[in-house]
Every structure is written in C-alpha cells, then in structure tokens.
Symmetry: C2
Subunit: 643 residues, 2 copies
Amino acid sequence: MTELGGFQDHVGQVDLTAGDVSYRGIDDEDARKYIGARGLGVKYVFDAGPDVDPDSPENRLAFMNGPLTGTQTVMSGRIAVVTKSPLTGTVTDSHHGGWSGARLKWSGFDGLLFDGKAEEPVYAYVEDGEVELRDASHLWGKGVHETIETIGEEIDGTVGKNVSVMAIGPGGENGVRYACIVNEDDRASGRGGTGCVMGSKNLKAVVVKSGTRMPKPADPETFQQGYQQGMQAIQESDVTAPNEGGLSLYGTNVLMNITEEMDGLPVKNGKYTSTESFSASEGTTIDAEEVSGENVRENILVDEPTCHSCPVACKKEVEVTTMHKGEEMNVRMESYEYESAYALGPNSGHTERDDIALMIDRCNDMGVDTIEVGNMMAMAMEMSDEGKLDEEGTLDWGDSETMVDMIERISMREEGLPDLLAEGARRIAEKKDAENNSLAVKGQTIPAYDPRCMKGMGIAYATSNRGACHLRAYTPAAEILGVPEKVDPYAWEGKGELTATFQDLHAISDSFDICKFNAFAEGIEEYVMQYNGMTGLDVTEDELIESGERVYTLERYYNNLAGFDGSDDSLPARFLDGEGGVAGQGASEGEFCELDEMKEEYYSHRGWVDGVVPDEKLEALEIDLGPGTGVSSGSDSAAPADD
Amino acid sequence: MTELGGFQDHVGQVDLTAGDVSYRGIDDEDARKYIGARGLGVKYVFDAGPDVDPDSPENRLAFMNGPLTGTQTVMSGRIAVVTKSPLTGTVTDSHHGGWSGARLKWSGFDGLLFDGKAEEPVYAYVEDGEVELRDASHLWGKGVHETIETIGEEIDGTVGKNVSVMAIGPGGENGVRYACIVNEDDRASGRGGTGCVMGSKNLKAVVVKSGTRMPKPADPETFQQGYQQGMQAIQESDVTAPNEGGLSLYGTNVLMNITEEMDGLPVKNGKYTSTESFSASEGTTIDAEEVSGENVRENILVDEPTCHSCPVACKKEVEVTTMHKGEEMNVRMESYEYESAYALGPNSGHTERDDIALMIDRCNDMGVDTIEVGNMMAMAMEMSDEGKLDEEGTLDWGDSETMVDMIERISMREEGLPDLLAEGARRIAEKKDAENNSLAVKGQTIPAYDPRCMKGMGIAYATSNRGACHLRAYTPAAEILGVPEKVDPYAWEGKGELTATFQDLHAISDSFDICKFNAFAEGIEEYVMQYNGMTGLDVTEDELIESGERVYTLERYYNNLAGFDGSDDSLPARFLDGEGGVAGQGASEGEFCELDEMKEEYYSHRGWVDGVVPDEKLEALEIDLGPGTGVSSGSDSAAPADD
C-alpha cells in the first residue's frame, strides 16, 4: 500500500470472465517509481505479460489516474487508458480530458483494471469506492451518444454534471483496430485501439459517479506555491494565456495555418507538404485556411467548454448546417481539432470545413479514432489510384460526401473496403502489398506534422513506443512555437536528444496525469513542486526526470519483449531520401528526413542498442520486473487477475 | 463543534493577561449562521461585549479565516482581523491578503482570539494546531520590516516561504488610533486601528508556520464546477482578466486616471473633485496622471507578486530612487495602491509619484494606515490655513518632503502636531473645533471616491458599520466599471438599495474569506457552488444572501448597543448641499450628495429605524445574541476569556 498524498491506494480489479470485482492497494515502491496513471498503467499491463494476444481476454485494460488528477493543478482532468494495442502490438496509453479522470479520483479510485471477457455485454458502474458490473445488452450496437444518453436516463445523477461515461461505439464492438473510447464531453482516448480492446471484452462503458474523496496535498505550502507559479506561467505564455494565447483562442487547430505556411502539413497521404503545393501540382485548389482554427472561430464556433481545472479552454465546440446527399444536416459537436481536421481533410485531398465537422462527429459517435480513420481513407484513395482496391471498392481523393458515410461503414465492418480499412495500415499493407501507401510507424499512422519539415517529429514518430504519435515527444513545441526555446525545424542535429527529453517530460505529465498543454508554460520546476506538494515526497528535478525515463524505458522494454527492435523504429519511405522518397515542397523544398542520423544520436543518448534496452540500463533505472507472468505483482493484490 | 467542510473546528483562545492558551471548537449553528472570518469574528467580538473600551484589555482581537480561505478558490488568501475600533468605537473588521490567512488555515486553525494584555511584549507563534507565546521585548520599538526580518532569523523556516508574520510597528505600540497590522508581503489590515489594539495588548506579532492541514471540499464536484465557472468569469472580465484587465495590469491604481477624468477624485482634503479643478483654481499645477497606475507601470514597476491562489496579481511592486532632504534614497516596496496614493498625494495637494512611494513604505514600516495618515495630514494642512494649529505646528499643502518624515513622527507620537494627528479625525475635531476640516464618518476618513460624483459612495460611506469605507459596499463597481451593470454615478435613486445589496454580498465574501476583487467577475451563483461544495451545505442563493445580511445586521446591532444610531450615518458637510457645502467641479459641476434621500431609501430597504435594528429584524434574521457579557458563548468554550 502507499500513503503518498494524491493516491487513494485503491484500484478496482475486475475479472470480466468471472464477473468478480476485487480491490487492491498500490505498492508503495511502484507508486514512487512509476508516478501514476501512464507509468503505473504500463506497469500493470506489463504484469499481464508482454506476449499476450491483444485481441484475447488475457489482454489487460487499465484506466488509471495519477497523483495530480482531479486536483487544483491546472489541466488535471485527465485519465490514462493503457493496454496492449490491437493496432500496433505495442503497449499503448491513450489519455482523454473532460472530467472522467477527476471523477474517478473523487469516487475513491486510482484506477480500474479489466481482465478477461464478459459473457454478455456489461458496463461498469463506479460509485463511492465500489465497482459494479451491470447488464449492457440493450446498449450493444448503439452509438456513443445514444449510449451515454441512455445510461444517463437509467442512473441517478446527471451525466456531465456529476457522472462521466466512457463508452465505445460500434467501432469498438466490431473490432475496428483503432476504435476509441469517448466520454460525455466528446473527449476520446483516441489512439491505439483501446476501444477495440474494450469491445473484445464485451465492456460497453465505464460509468463513474463523482464522489467526495478528493485528496488534499500532503504539503499544501509547496503544492500551492508550485500551482501559483505554474498558473502564472500559463497566463503569461503566448500559447496558453487564457483568451489571448493561440491555443486558447483557436484550440489545437491554431496550427493549421502555421504548418501550411511552413510547408509542414502532410497533404494527400503525405505526398505534399502544404495545400498550396497540392493545388499548384494537382490542378485543383484546396486551401488549409478554410479548415483553420481562425476560420472555425469566425464562422462556426458556438462554445468553448473546458476540462476540469483548465483555464485555457482549447475545446472549440462548433455547429454546422450543411447539405449531405441532398439533405440538410445539422450537427453540433465538440471539438474541431487540428489532428482530426488534417487527417479527414487535407490529407484526404479536400478542405470542406463543414464536412469535416460531420466526419468528426460521426467518428465520435461510432467510437473510432479520427486520425486513423482519415488516414485509412487517404491510404485507400492512393491505393485506388494504383489499382490496388479494385476488388474491395475504390475511394476518390477529396470525396468528402462518401467519406462521411464511410466512417459508419468502417465501424460496422461492412464487407469489402470498409472491413479492410478497419484492420489498420499494417494489415492492409500486408494483405494488399501496399507498404508504400502506408503512413504508419509500427502500424499506427502519422499525425499532422510533416517530418520532412520538422525533423524532430521524424525521430519522435519513429521511436514512439505506441507507433507514430506527436504526443510522445511534442517537438513542435520547440520547432514551431519556440518552447522552451526555438530550434530550427530543418536541422536534424540535436533532435535525437530533444526527442528523448520530451519523451521523458511527457511521460511525467502523462503519469501525473495532467494535460500536455501544461508544458507550453510550466516546466520541471513547477512539476516537482506540485508533485512533492501533493505526494509529500521530496524528489529533485533530476529524480523526477529519471522517473519519466523509467516509464518510457519500461514501455520500450515491454515492446522489446513483444518482439520490437530498432528495425521497427522506422518512417514511411516517402519521407526518406531513398527508394519511394518524395521530397518536400515550397518552404520545405527538397527536404527529406534524416532518420538514420537521428536514430544514432537518439539511441546513443538513451543508452539503447539498436532500439533495445540493455540489461544495464534496466538495472540503472531499477526496472526489476520480470517479463510478466500474467500474475499481478501488487504487494497486496487480491488475486491473480486474468485467469 | 462543526463538521462543515472548510473548517478546522479549532480556534486558539489566548488570554494574554494570564499567558494562557486554550482551544475551542466552532459552534455548528454559529458556522452556519455567520459563515466564517468576518461574520464569526464579529460574533466573537460581540461576545466580549459591545460596551467594552477599545483601549482596554477587555477588548477582544480576533484573527479569523473563513471556510474558503486557503483553498483552491481564486483569491482565497485572506484573513479578517476583527475588534472594537479605537478609532471609531464601532466594531471593525480589516482584512489582508498575501498568504497569512492560508497559512493559518493550513496550520490547523480557523482563527485566534486574543484577550487581555500581556505584562511584557510577546508574540504568538502558531504551528501545527498549537499557539505559543514568546518574548518580544527585543522587538519592541522596531519597525515592521526589521521585526519580520528578526523573527525570520530566530525561527526555523523562511518567512515568506512557509511562514507568515503579522506584525505591528511603532504606530501600534504607541497607540496611534489608526495603526495597522502588516505582514511579510506588505499586505496590511489597514483600517480601523487593529494594530493599535494589538499594541495595547503588548502583542507585537502573530507568526504562523504553514502546515499540512489543508481542508478538502466536502463535495468536490460542486466545488470544482463552481471554481471552474468562477475562474472562467475572472478570465473573461475586463477588470480582472490576467495580464489584460485593468486591475491585473495596473492594480487598484488603475482608478487614478478614471476618477480624475470623471471628477470623482477628492483633492485637497476633498475641496476639489480632480487635480485639474485644483490646478485651475489654485494657480499651481498638479496632475493625477503622474501618480496613476499607468505611469507607475511604465516607470517604476519592478514586480507583480500575487497572493495565495490569485491569477490577477494586482500588487504592483515598485522601486524608486529619489532625493529626500538632500540625500538619495532608494526604496523598493509592495505595493503602490490607489487609496494610498490618493490620500498621501492629491488629497494632500501634490502628485510627487516617488515621494508617495517613500511614504507608503514608511507607513508600512511604522504600521500605520496609509489612507488615514494621508488624510490626517491633509486635515492638518487645511487647519493650518485656518490658523487652528498655531500651537501644535503647521503643515503646508503639498509639502511632500515634510510629509515623508511626519509619518514616523506621528507613529512615535512626537509632542505637538504628530501626537495630535495620531488621535484621528474625530478627536482632533473635538479638541480643535475642527469638525469642518474632518473628512470622517464615525471617526474614519473617506477613501478615494468623491460622493459628489459617485452618489452610491455617499450612502455607502454613511452607512458603513466601520466608518467611511469603500470596501463595505463597493458601488464604483457599478458606478464606474459597470459590474454587474452600469448605473449613472450621479443618480441617487436606487443607490440606497444598491449599497445594501453590495454590503450583503461583501459581507459574504469577507466571511468566506476571499478577496473582494472576485466580485468583479464572480457572482452569487459561483459563491454558492463553492461554499456548498466546500462545506457540504446545500444553501440557496437567497439563503446565502440572507447570511450576508445577518452578518451586516449583527455589526449594526453591535454599533447600536455601542451607542450609534442614524445620526452617525453622516457625511462631511462639504459633500452636502447646505452649510459648509462645496459643490463638485468639472464633470461633477454643481453636484452635492443627496444623503438624506438615500438614507431613507436605505433604511426602508433594510427595515431599520433611523439607523437602528429593530427587534423584529433581529428575530427575522435569527440573531439571538444577548448584548454580550464578556463570556464567550462557544458551545465548547474552554473558559471565560477576558477576566
């Protein structure tokens, strides 16, 4: 057990196969070593064995808080979902905001572990330190929105007021490999297929009723001073300053015009580096500005809701009324994100602002990852051009009308193209000899930063433990926004080290669990003060950074045991100077990504050998886990979990 | 005892005469009725008897937190000091910010009550739920700054880091009737002579070491949603928005140019309504702009520190290097406030920006109220003109060089003019037949809002329970800043009711105890959510407002028992249309304050009879206190306190 502040020392362990719920504390050494949320979640998933089949009942699904979740700390409303990814085969952690994380904490939990598979669909109802499994047969097949509404009607308490629902849609039920989990605020644990794992367990939703168990800081003075310093930094940052900074005014989509301008926006399945370059070559004009945060704010913005304890309000709720297949459609949805807009828009060859809103809403309701869905359709469009999909059915560039409907068809795994696309890039590539059409790393496709322009993103995508991802090392902070200091996006030197540094820092905030946007303003100093203040620990900055490294290294070790090595730390060929390479254009004219050079720097900095963590590194970081036995190693664990 | 959230149910009761400390809980009904801080403090001071001599050991001095002090609630770092005022003879409450209130809460206390008088100088040392009296003989005679520094060297822990010191200077030691209490952040419980009472008890300082006892909300969901809504309102307000709103950019002194412009700035002991009018008539030019927040920010600002949990940072720390009596003086001090600048500057006939900084710093170090000191010197200047001070020594308008030194001389009660000025306006007026020169209501002089321009301030000054005060009903919020809505400053109709409404609202926030600046953005809705969320109560908006009215009415009842009635709800003659009246100028040309009309409206709204609370009103508000017996009525009180 742990007595550290910020913890409830209470984790629900649900054996879905047996329908049993038990409870365990948190081993104090684990809490100190792995911080919480992402770190502890990875540890618990590791305990279930890195060689588990992600589609099997033996795969463990963890919903984890961290010691700062649901506290006063700015942007601390987050929750980590950790499991072995059915998309990538790596360990994956995918976080979402809103209030679910805070409510889980206040209801008395540090986390919930789901093992096994329920015989019939169930949902987990969490209240006041207890988990109860309830029948969800009547919810199976329903979209996320109707699921949440129905549960809201069934239970005492208003969803969104003091209840959070984390649900899957048809995507997760039908095994779409990038199905996600969506809550009542349309916040999604989007990437890596956590919703697919949930569906494979017949777990339709996790419902959390808010409680009274908000932890208080062990050392209020230190905590408050850290909070105060952090809050001031957030107010003074050009990025986060409430109602003033770019992120607050335009949300994540503040980046659309910026990356377009610098030729760092992947367009047409990553062939072009801006819509301008696309338009110049393709003889048809599309324009990133039309789907930019500025355009959205001016034309379709209706609200700017916030997550727990967040002054930034990056969520941009929009309402559109648009024609779809001859009928007028009205959609109001949160939120029009940059990554979603990129994948469902320019990367698929169009900039139809309102159609993108329809698509995001459809993805949220079906419970599938907007980035992956968009990129799968872009991949299909390119494969269609190359005659690779004549059997399954083709898709045309920029056909946004068809795209809107394709989302539901993928989620239902309709025979033919939709069913194929539901499998994700790696399996499509294998099945259809389409490796060249894939934008994936380790099976997960790239988000909206072109690695020919931002070289740091190249090494970050390649070495991300969960497949291509901007959130494992957000180098654009430095390469675009100049945080903590501006670096040349086109230079590759130093990017290996920069990426490792960001990876460790983000592993800390993901383990706290607080929003990454915090890092645009707060630094390790504020992190340490709030972490020490809440837990009562007295760690130094170096010790906390080492904990971040420990978390990142544990993930890599997991992946090594699951069969991944340096050869998987790759990039799609089109970004590299070699066969299949396509140079950047415009401001990124002639640019490729110097992956090999950066990998060498990165591994050297990490002390890894060709992508593999050597024993001495494990020892140095005191990672003394065996390769996993399927038996939980919590000191006061109730029972083996997945049997 | 009370189990309401936000309370420690722990009050230290110090019998200075006997040198004993005992502890008491808080009667649950008291907590529900009087909220906390100001409300509970007034109740405890009432218990000691409204007929007590303020200069005697029998006067009780209360340092009180409220249920929101030291919490996440924005601007919740405040503490109320409540006692019978040696300046006015009314009950008075005077709050200060910084971190003292939060630290007292975290050290385990809702408040401290001091009764009796120590034989030798002592200071109270508070740590971890205990109060200890320590010898302060070596500190007696020292200025506030040296006192705090010396205590800091003596104790374990760094002052300002995890220790707060609330100290008096020579002003309090020597019985200056408007002596104040100042902490390590130069935050002062400024008005009403709380420092004078402290001095009369031989209590040099209250030292509080931060602890770990931060209360957590009884209902986190409700509390957090209230917090979130409040924080958003603060970010969106033109007044409070961090780094954007007027208060955040320029501090309280944002008002200097505004009131000058609208001819609402009392100048030359309230003869003029702006420095422009002064300059046009007096043949010598002074200019409010030179001492404005804008000017200060541009020229002498060095830092913008914050109080606990405050994103606004209204404190403006300045550094000046200026000549004083032929020598170069360098002073760095927090903070250059509007009220201080008015009284020590334009109202005393000058606008020497840097000399005002010297004076504020001197006041802080001597522990005397900047407003009262400035106004006493202005009164003396006017009396000098009229030949009323030939015996004691005269003072010239705008002689800022002499003013700087006069502050220390008043604090030392040097024979002659300084000793006279130390007595405050009412006693000077009585002794020197100078009622016409006094700007006082109930013995306390007016702050920086001219009631010929802002009529609401007229009725607010007149009916304030602690003598002339802008903080008992901050009508300029509506009359200048348009919060909650803009009202015509020159109209008197409705101002009686407006004043009563503000009085009740401020009584709530003072009892929480949170900063009044909160009210520029947050409203009763956010107050109720955070109050209910923290305490676990379920009061309605109307019930909370009634509690505010109950606190205000209890104070009035106290004053009635102490001999005050409607005749004391007065204004200086010069603001009224009658004998001695001086009409406003410029934008306020020809204006007087319609006091009688507003009093009628006010009393009628209050249900008072000529300033006196009738029995039926006491009953309706469930104020069932007897007139005080000197015996504490806490349900679990340890022993009679002041014997």
